[in-house]
């Protein structure tokens, strides 16, 4: 079974079975990597904020660069009104980034390669953004579905498309991250399997591919976290500054 490229995505229980009513809330390998990722984020940024020297040391520089990176990303895409949501977007970006990056360690589990995890994050963002939009603009938020400068004849069609595209936001957001992570890891597993099956003679080519794919996947891991965060910012921008 271990040669199955999908085997790496299996979730299994670690420790005792925890059940509340009919719902199974056991601690699993996915939970373990969530804990590891969030702990790593907390430890790194806590270390990075502990000492304030005028010339930052390496870990402080890392923390401060990440801070300014995310804060610049938010102010560029969603403007200054999005400042109260900075810590959420920062946590989101760091959580997804660390889950992706921990997934790159061999034998590690990739939390974000599970649709349910990314979907819960995306759905939370979707509902949050929608609630913020309705709080800020009342029913005027529905103007988001009526773009200006569209001929009246086309308007019903456009509104329907806009509504569908708005409703598909959580799906596209979650599937993008999940599919990217799953596809990359599956591909690496497949090439790893080729290395074994082709042996010492023919295994070098897939090994080279595997090495190149590892680099690519690290890039994808960062990029998808960035895309996840920046799309959140864009949705937030729609809710905060009604442009249409």
């Amino acid at each position: 079974m271990a040669s199955n490229p999908m085997y790496q995505f299996n979730v299994y229980r670690i420790g005792p079975e925890i059940k509340i009513g009919e719902v199974d809330l056991s601690f699993t390998n996915a939970s373990l990597f969530m804990v590891i990722s969030s702990l790593a984020v907390l430890i790194i940024f806590n270390l990075g904020s502990k000492k304030n020297s005028l010339i930052p040391n390496k870990i402080q520089l890392l923390a401060e660069l990440s801070y300014t990176f995310v804060s610049k990303m938010i102010s560029d895409t969603a403007g200054s009104k999005a400042k109260p949501y900075f810590s959420f977007i920062f946590s989101l970006f760091m959580f997804v980034l660390f889950c992706n990056m921990f997934g790159m360690i061999p034998y590690a589990f990739t939390v974000t390669s599970h649709i349910i995890v990314t979907f819960v994050l995306a759905a939370f963002i979707f509902f949050g953004v929608t609630i913020i939009g309705f709080i800020k603009h009342g029913f005027g938020y529905l103007k988001l579905f009526v773009p200006s400068g569209v001929p009246v004849v086309l308007l019903p069609l456009i509104v329907v498309i806009e509504v569908i595209s708005y409703l598909s936001r959580p799906v596209s957001l979650s599937v993008r991250l999940f599919a990217n992570m799953m596809a990359g890891h599956t591909m690496m597993k497949v090439f790893g399997g080729f290395v074994i099956s082709l042996g010492i003679v023919g295994g070098w080519l897939p090994l080279g591919f595997s090495v190149a794919l590892t680099g690519l996947e690290i890039l994808v891991a960062f990029l998808q976290a960035y895309v996840f965060a920046i799309l959140t910012c864009i949705y937030l921008n729609d809710a905060l500054n009604l442009h249409h």
Partner: protein, 189 residues
């Protein structure tokens, strides 16, 4: 827009086809056995991380950044101030140097003028004196020149009267002698 829409449809289709195949053990992601566990632990871990980051860590980082920014601007301001001050000092120094140079020049000029004036005055005085002296001498010479014929006449009259007295022993009237002398001197002239 349409491209995105069609892509989303495709993803939906793939998703649902995966859901069907999951029951035959295709994708572990679509096995709902641990879905609630994953949601539960996601909320716990992400929630704790979010709360700790937003309450403890991020304000500190932001404060650190602000403190550093403030310190840097402060330092830059202080440096600017010092530069301005040094510029001012340099200007003052330059002013001082030019002032003292001017003063020295003034002193020198004054001294030279004074000396020149003195020399001029002395020369003028001297010239005046010399002129006076020359005038005096000329006057004297002129006087002498003017007086000499009369004196000579007088002497001639006296000597002639004396001579006549000695020779003849007669006192001759001076006026007649002088008339004769005048006559003679006119003739000789």
């Amino acid at each position: 827009m349409f491209l995105r829409f069609s892509r989303i449809l495709l993803i939906y289709f793939l998703f649902f086809s995966y859901v069907e195949s999951a029951e035959s053990g295709g994708m572990p992601q679509l096995n709902p056995e641990f879905w609630f566990s994953q949601i539960f632990w996601l909320i716990i871990t992400f929630g704790i991380m979010f709360i700790l980051l937003s309450k403890l860590v991020l304000p500190k980082i932001s404060e650190n950044l602000e403190v550093r920014k403030a310190q840097i601007t402060e330092n830059i301001e202080a440096a600017e101030k010092q530069r301005e001050e040094s510029d001012k000092k340099l200007k003052e120094y330059d002013q001082l140097i030019t002032n003292s140079k001017n003063e020295a020049k003034n002193y020198f000029n004054k001294a030279r003028e004074k000396i020149l004036k003195d020399v001029d005055k002395k020369r003028e005085n001297l010239e005046k004196e010399i002129n006076e002296e020359i005038n005096k001498a000329e006057k004297e010479i002129l006087d002498l020149k003017n007086k000499s014929p009369e004196k000579i006449r007088k002497i001639a009259v006296e000597t002639s009267s004396d001579l006549i007295k000695r020779l003849i022993g007669v006192d001759v009237n001076n006026s007649s002698i002088s008339a004769i002398v005048e006559d003679v001197s006119r003739k000789t002239n």
